[in-house]
Every structure is written in structure tokens, then in C-alpha cells.
Amino acid sequence: MLSTQPMLQVEDLQVYYDQIQALAGVSLEVHEGEVVALLGANGAGKTTLLHTVSGLISPRKGKVTFKGEEITRYQPEKIVTLGIGHVPEHRQIFGTLSVKDNLILGAYHHYKKTGKNKVDEEIEKMYELFPILKERESQLAGTLSGGQQQMLAIARALMTNPKLLLLDEPSLGLAPIIVKEVLELIRRLRDELGTTVLLIEQNVFASLKISDRAYVIQRGEIVKQGSSRELLDDEEVREAYLGHKAV
């Protein structure tokens, strides 16, 4: 399944916030069709990594390559047009706009080219994937529940037509039953839409269950990597992250 050239390649990424180092030489790759999980405790540098990939932060050193093109210092407005969709931490939906407007804005960068009718069709597809959004179509997005907002954030990012979807802690703050639903959905996105996914999670057990491969990041460094199945059986991972959860 792994093609030779990775879809996303991150090499020796070093990122600083002023003097504070957040990433200390991170390398990872994501191949087309994979669901890759990036696991790590709070403050490990997961969000920083995604922000660097999508151009919100410039690294001090290192390289990001997407589909063979170096995108290291591109602006985010440009990177999304190349096919990287980013669902940011805490969802960040436009709360004062309607659900439908949020989805329309997802299509912003290709709206002219695609045309209104086609965009409307794409929105209908999102409604098939997330029927609750159809029901809430004209409601202000800020009035949705946490789980619904997460669905909207994912649907909005899908409207950008991503080849690669970056997901930053989609289960954060959701009730356990919703968490399960959201994570299963990620699997479906890959299977049904063929979207490649890089998923950040603190929910280690569940994300290892749905991903193909995973990296573990600690204080800005990758400390472990492997297939998700291997990592589920790994003694250290079990001890550090799974606790009593893994039975």
C-alpha cells in the first residue's frame, strides 16, 4: 500500500517560540491512503507540528515537502490550495455564521472555479456524511453542541477538497460516545473518500485502533514510531499512555 514517495514528508523540523524550542528536529512521513496518528502528552509539540505543516508558523530549520513540492515557507492561504486541509485545535468554527455559510467558506479558495451549483452539490455530500448538519443548516454554528461543531469543522475542511487532512485533537472535550463516532468517521473518510489523514490525539488507545501507523512525540522529539498494531502491544506505550485502559 505504501507508495515510494511519501505524500507528506517532514524533515528535521525545528520550531521556536522566541527562545523556547517547541520542535527539536522532528521527521515524519505520511503516505497516500494512510491514517497516521501523532500521539503525545499536552505540550509535546503536536499542534506546533501541524501549524508548521500548514504554514501558520515558519520553522527555524527543516523542510516540509508535499507531493514532491517543497512548501516549507509557503503561506497557509497557498498551502490549502495545494490540497492540505487543517481542522484546527478547538474546532474554530465561525460561530456567528450559519452552518451553511461555514461550509461555503470551506470552498472559498476554489469557489469561483467550481461554481455555485457544484459547491452546493458538495455541500449536499457533506450533509449525507453528517446528516445533523443538514438539520441545522441555517442555525448559527455557535449554537451547535461540541460534537456537532467538530463535525462541522471536519466538513468545512473537507470542503477545501483536501488530499491530506490534518486533524488536531478532534475528540477534545467530547463525550466518550461522541469521541467514538468522530474517530470512526475518520476511518470512513479514508475508506470512502480516499482522504489521507494525519491525526493528533491524546486519546492514545482509540487512535491506535483506527490508524495504520503512529508516531509518539515527547518534548518536541519523536521518541517512537511504528505500525499502530505494534505500538498497541508495545510495553512502554502501554505503560506510559494506556494505563488501565488497555485490557
Binding site: 497557509p76 456567528t96 455559510d101 467558506l105 479558495h109
Partner: protein
């Protein structure tokens, strides 16, 4: 009775101008959170350029429609040269920068146009229309009509077009907007251009009534700003209500109490409203919504 009606007509006319100027403030503020106190200078430039272009022999309406893009370019330059480099500065520093810019522009304008007011012809023949004992000049009606056009145009742009939704997105969450390919930097530039166009319209509409001079932007800017604050700063309907209220209070105050006190009365009412409702009359609902 007919006197009262006359005050109301006058009040609605100047109030409409204040409303247009206020809409210019709202347009920039709701997209960028910048309070652009150089807004009045766009109004001045609108009137003065209109004067210069038609004095240079251009047909009236060509001068009119040429003035708009010229002032727009000017607004965009202001954004590029003054606002953009100060990105990340706090709100107060930005306000001071725009005050500095407006003093600079006024200085240049006084060098170019001198200190005497300029006479600009009305849009159409200006024979007053008699109406229930009051007389209304056609130019007053034009001013009110332009105000309506600006309000409806803004409403359509912000609520019904994808660009307008992009404006709202940048205002609501610039980071999320960037991840969708909506550039807050470009939207900021556009909002300054749009706001300058609105200011130019106000300037050209009022020029035949209030012959403009280099410093006309100061008072109109202050009044328009008061109107925007009165209405809640982020709200277009609020800006219109604010502008009309200030215009009416001013005109009625001048007519019924003392014409020397008209500014004091107008500002007194604004302060009073803000003491009762610090967020402006339509503030709470609209702040952060962007646009309307």
C-alpha cells in the same frame, strides 16, 4: 410647524452623511478591528477630487465615477503604508497612527487646494421642492438616496456574496480563515478600499451643500465616528440610526435652542447614550459579527 419640518429635513440630510461616514468606520472596524480616524479624509478627498476633476473640464459624471477609484487607491495605500507595517500593534497605537495619517493628509490637501472652500455643482438642477411648508433641495434627496444605496450595497456584499462571508470569517476567526485560503491581509486591504469608496461617495454627495475645504474631514470624521460608536461600532444598522439621530439632534438643537450649541448638544446626547449603554445601541448583538 413648517419650521420644525425644515429642521427635520436638514437633520436627515446631514444625518445621512454622518451615517455614510459611520458605515465607512464600521466596514474597516468589523473586518480588521482597526478604528480608522482618517476616515474623514476620504470624505474630504472625495469632495476635493470631484472639484478638481470637473474644474479640469471632465464631464460631471465622469469626474464623479473617476473620483471613487482614485480615493479607493488612496485608502489602499493608507492600509499598505501605515496599517500593514504596524501589524500586531495594540489598538491605541493604531488609532494614533491613523490620526497622524489624517493630519498629514490634511496638510498636503491644504498645500494643494489652499484654504478656501470649493464650490461643487449639485447632481441635478437644485430648485427646491416645496413640501408641507418646508423646502427640500434635490441634493438633500440625493444624499439620502446615496445613504440608502450604500446601506443596501453593503448588506448585499457582506451577507450575500462569498467575498462578504470571507470578510465575516476574517473578523470572526482569522486563523481559521487562513486555513481555508481566506487572506486576512487581503481582506484588510479590501476593507480599506471599500471604506474609502464609501467616504468618497459621502464627500461628493455633501460637497454641493457644504462646500468642502481641506479641513472638512475633521468634523465629518468626528461626527461619523460618534455615529458609529453610538450604533455599536460593528453594526451597520446601528451606524445609520446613530448618524440620523446625531443629525436630527444637531439640527433641532440648533433650530430650537441655540445654533452655537449644536455640536455640544449632539455630543451630549451621544455621551448620554453611551453612559446608559456602553456598547452602543446595537452593540451587543453585532460586535464580532462583522459587517452587518
Amino acid at each position: 410647524m413648517s419650521e420644525l419640518l425644515q429642521y427635520i429635513v436638514t437633520g436627515l440630510t446631514t444625518g445621512s452623511i454622518y451615517a455614510i461616514v459611520a458605515l465607512g468606520f464600521v466596514t474597516i472596524y468589523s473586518v480588521t478591528k482597526v478604528i480608522n480616524l482618517a476616515q474623514g479624509e476620504f470624505v474630504m478627498l472625495g469632495g476635493m477630487l470631484m472639484y478638481t476633476l470637473s474644474a479640469a473640464g471632465l464631464p460631471y459624471w465622469i469626474a464623479f465615477f473617476l473620483t471613487i477609484p482614485l480615493v479607493m487607491v488612496f485608502g489602499m495605500l493608507l492600509e499598505r503604508i501605515v496599517i500593514r507595517p504596524a501589524k500586531g500593534a495594540d489598538a491605541l497605537s493604531l488609532i494614533i497612527l491613523t490620526i497622524g495619517a489624517s493630519i498629514f493628509i490634511r496638510g498636503i490637501a491644504s498645500m494643494i487646494w489652499g484654504k478656501t472652500p470649493k464650490k461643487v455643482e449639485p447632481f441635478t438642477s437644485n430648485d427646491p421642492i416645496q413640501f408641507a411648508g418646508a423646502s427640500v433641495t434635490p441634493q438633500s434627496l440625493w444624499v439620502m438616496l446615496i445613504m440608502l444605496v450604500v446601506v443596501l450595497g453593503l448588506y448585499f456584499l457582506v451577507e450575500k456574496t462569498v467575498i462578504g462571508k470571507g470578510f465575516q470569517a476574517c473578523s470572526a476567526n482569522p486563523l481559521a480563515a487562513r486555513l481555508l485560503g481566506i487572506s486576512p491581509a487581503r481582506m484588510s486591504l479590501l476593507s480599506f478600499g471599500l471604506s474609502a469608496a464609501i467616504g468618497a461617495l459621502a464627500g461628493m454627495a455633501i460637497a454641493p451643500i457644504l462646500y468642502p475645504s481641506f479641513d472638512v474631514g475633521l468634523m465629518l470624521g468626528v461626527k461619523g465616528f460618534s455615529a458609529a460608536i453610538f450604533g455599536g461600532l460593528g453594526s451597520s444598522p446601528g451606524a445609520v440610526i446613530g448618524g440620523l439621530t446625531i443629525g436630527l439632534v444637531e439640527s433641532l438643537g440648533a433650530g430650537l435652542i441655540d445654533s452655537g450649541l449644536k455640536d455640544a448638544i449632539a455630543f451630549g446626547v451621544v455621551l448620554l447614550i453611551l453612559l446608559i449603554r456602553p456598547s452602543g445601541i446595537l452593540g451587543e448583538k453585532s460586535v464580532g459579527k462583522g459587517g452587518l
